[in-house]
């Protein structure tokens, strides 16, 4: 028996590598800068086929190796070439519970696409666009390529948070036959996918659809439960009959710059700004009640260089800002944001000011922000992260007009669960300590993963943690069964 499957690609390899990478259709920059509709429009079927034809079907596919959840990219592409889009979607779902989401927000240039051989000489296969294509096909045609679950085990697992780590974990656990109950603190499910990532990058309908797929498969979701306040981990395990718990509550508290004037009206954390705009739909005020400090015809400065900063600045632009700028203390090379996001922001008219850091926020007599004082920076020696750290240039202070400032300087651990769960060990920085391989915490039956363990990272890494947790929770639950059998035996004897 040979491992090499029959390929649905009719072209010889030398023809395949000549094919150009398909450019995904986008809304035009000037138009999209004024609306919250999705920027990327996605591949139509013909483009998906053209792009799939480029895959040279490596015997050891680097794309699969580089994917944090090991999606069988090669098999997916072959199913697309066979015209079996639903089959392709099911294939993705075997390893990835949220393909329509990852197909949109994964930093693929560092993951699957970085493993593509074609990328060494030319451009890699557009794997993310293909993943998105099959997931969108499934959704838009009203079909569900969901795999069949294992027989019920009678074990109950509680997942805390409904972000990417939890949803990925839920997908796997339900597949394994366990009962899954997801608790969400906010009123809407999806975690960072709904409060953090804007509509133009990830439409909420898509998140809701993926959640509904899980719901149809039997996952129970409960909103408005702040674990640590509404109910504790111990109560879940001892009073509500959960056999295991997975904590995936995300990173939490916003970091501020701790410079004077940060309490002025108009100074936001990126978390608050994005939560108001995304979760609370403040961009549709007054149709929606939640207000937002106005950005229209104003100068908006976003401090930071990550994806959150890009999301904030591009949202400000769409809210009618007169100018929308990124102020970053290092150079573009060190910016943690995805290259595609930076390009999109630039095309839309975002201004980038590198090597600057705010020193002071200035306001009027009513306490409303009017200006920001900044200082120029230069790059010094590399720090712990390997990036050269910025050093202030003495006397280089300057003041710019700014009525809305958004601080996207990262987050720190939210202590809510740690402080209400006796026996749960934390790191020096307050994150939950979890075994790297099993994600088990110091407390039996309690697992943790995603940003609450690693600090702020990406959607797909959180999903990877969710899958890892599902696997070891499954092992743990099997062990419980073993223990139960042992106890019964002992009782008989």
């Amino acid at each position: 028996m040979t491992d090499k499957p029959v390929s649905n690609n009719p072209l010889p390899n030398k023809e395949r590598i000549k094919l150009p990478r398909q450019r995904v259709p986008e809304q035009e920059a000037q138009i999209r800068a004024c609306n919250f509709h999705e920027v990327n429009l996605g591949f139509p079927p013909e483009m998906a086929r053209q792009e799939s034809l480029r895959c040279i079907e490596c015997p050891k596919p680097g794309c699969i190796e580089k994917c944090p959840v090991s999606v069988n990219v090669r098999a997916v592409i072959d199913l697309i070439l066979a015209g079996d889009y639903l089959g392709a979607a099911s294939k993705v779902r075997e390893d990835n519970a949220l393909p329509a989401i990852t197909g949109r927000v994964c930093p693929v240039e560092d993951q699957c696409e970085s493993g593509c051989v074609l990328g060494k000489k030319g451009e890699p296969v557009g794997i993310a666009y293909l993943e998105r294509f099959v997931a969108d096909w499934e959704r838009e045609t009203g079909q569900f390529g969901s795999p069949v679950s294992a027989p019920a085990t009678g074990k109950k697992v509680g997942l805390i948070g409904s972000g990417p780590a939890s949803l990925a974990c839920a997908g796997d656990l339900i597949q394994m036959g366990h009962q899954v109950h997801v608790f969400e603190a906010l009123h809407e499910l999806g975690g960072v996918l709904v409060y953090g990532i804007p509509e133009f990058r990830l439409p909420k309908d898509i998140v809701h659809h993926e959640i509904n797929v899980l719901r149809r498969r039997g996952v129970v979701f409960e909103t408005n439960v702040v674990v640590g306040k509404t109910v504790t981990i111990d109560e879940l395990m001892h009073e509500e009959g959960f056999d295991a718990v997975f904590i995936a509550t995300g990173a939490g508290l916003p970091r501020f710059l701790n410079v004077p004037g940060e309490h002025l009206n108009g100074v936001y954390s990126a978390n608050e700004f994005l939560t108001r705009v995304n979760l609370m739909r403040a961009y549709r005020f007054p149709e929606f009640d939640e207000p937002l400090y106005p950005c229209k015809d104003r100068d908006v400065i976003v401090v930071g260089g990550g994806n959150t900063a890009m999301d904030a600045v591009r949202s400000a632009l769409r809210l009618g800002a007169k100018s929308a700028s990124i102020y970053y203390r290092r150079t573009e090379k060190e910016m943690p944001a995805r290259v595609e996001e930076v390009h999109h922001a630039k095309d839309e008219g975002v201004h980038f000011e590198m090597l600057v850091n705010p020193t002071r926020f200035l306001g009027d007599e009513k306490g409303n922000l009017t200006h920001v004082e900044c200082i120029r920076q230069e790059l010094g020696e590399p720090d712990d992260s390997g990036r050269r750290s910025p050093v202030a240039i003495k006397g280089s202070e300057f003041t710019v007009p700014c009525q809305v400032a958004i601080i996207a300087a990262g987050t720190s651990a939210n202590p809510l669960i740690q402080s209400t769960t006796p026996g749960l060990a934390t790191t020096k920085r307050g994150y939950i300590s979890a075994n790297e391989d099993t994600l088990a915490t110091s407390k039996p039956g309690v697992f943790a993963g995603g940003d609450i363990v690693t600090g702020g990272a990406t959607v797909i890494l959180a999903m990877g943690a969710g899958r890892k947790a599902a696997k070891s929770i499954n092992e743990y639950l099997k062990g419980l069964n073993g223990a139960a059998v042992e106890t019964e035996k002992a009782a008989v004897n």
């Binding site: 009123h187 039997g218 702040v226 995300g250 501020f256 739909r281 009640d289 207000p291 400090y293």
Partner: protein
């Protein structure tokens, strides 16, 4: 969905609600709050818990209609539902035997101070309640407060009930007499600030409950940040009660005015068609129940 099981008009523009919320009822401690969102297009608004009945699975909130959401909420009746209620949030009030405590409250703040006063009494304190309002028809829960207090003083700005004057007048007398070991003040910002000023000279520990603007209520957004002892604190998780002598009230007032224009516009829209807004809310929440039932039916299949 959180059903309203009973309502009672307790003063002009102030209404008491009993809401079915078993999880919150079980965990609630005095001083904590909930965040409510009335319907699909609603904003998230923090409201202090006035009481809870764990057996019945209900919580009590007392709401003064001052913004769009609270005005709309006050038009709802038993049988209506609130889409989202989350809590209990924030740290509970500090309860220990301080000796003699003065619980000072203004208008709707009395409902928030009441459960703490009751707990302080249970903890062995001598509780002196000072209840104030602009006018008689704005006084709330006076009887309940009397029941849990050793002494109760009522003051109104216009003299229509109790003594004429501000609550600080009475507090000053007690402080001057050296009778007070601990003060809790809950009410409008100017009242809390004035209380802080009264007790500052004698360094009597005074706690105030801060009503800053919130979104998530779990520490995630930082919108509720207040300046306490010159450092940033989040009212939702570090508070809502803080040592009054360390609170920067100017920053609190300034930040609470951040959305003044939008709030005004929202109230005007509500007042243009209040009945229509209530109908819209009822319809939207009913649809939610229908959608949920449909999904459950499908899952069952």
């Amino acid at each position: 969905m959180f059903p309203i099981v009973a309502t009672r008009q307790v003063a002009r523009g102030i209404k008491l609600f009993e809401i079915k919320a078993p999880r919150i009822a079980k965990k609630q401690r005095p001083g904590q709050f909930v965040i409510v969102r009335l319907d699909d297009t609603g904003e998230r608004v923090p409201l202090t818990l006035a009481d809870a009945n764990p057996e019945a699975g209900t919580i009590t909130i007392v709401v003064q209609g001052i913004g769009k959401t609270t005005m709309l909420l006050n038009m709802l009746e038993a049988g209506d539902s609130i889409l989202d209620v989350v809590g209990p949030l924030g740290k509970p009030s500090e309860i220990e035997n301080f000796g003699t405590v003065a619980v000072v409250s203004g208008s709707v703040g009395t409902a928030m101070a009441y459960p703490t006063a009751r707990e302080l009494k249970r903890a062995g304190n001598k509780v002196i309640s000072i209840v104030g309002a602009r006018s008689k028809d704005l006084l709330v829960l006076e009887d309940e407060v009397r029941e849990v207090s050793d002494e109760t003083y009522v003051l109104t700005d216009d003299g229509t009930a109790g003594e004429k004057g501000l609550v600080t007048k009475k507090l000053q007398e007690l402080v001057d007499a050296g009778e007070v070991d601990y003060v809790l003040a809950v009410g409008p910002v100017p009242m809390m600030r004035a209380c802080a000023n009264v007790t500052a000279a004698k360094q009597i520990k005074t706690m105030v409950s801060l009503n800053s603007i919130m979104v998530d209520g779990t520490g995630m957004c930082g919108g509720c940040r207040v300046l306490v002892n010159n450092s940033s604190q989040f009212a939702c998780v570090d508070g809502p009660e803080f040592d009054a002598s360390q609170v920067n009230f100017d920053v609190l007032v300034q930040r609470n005015n951040m959305y003044r224009e939008q709030e005004k516009a929202s109230i005007e829209r509500l007042q243009a068609d209040p009945e229509g807004e209530v109908r819209k809310l009822r319809k939207s929440n009913a649809q939610h129940v229908c959608a949920l039932e449909a999904t459950l039916a499908e899952v069952a299949k």
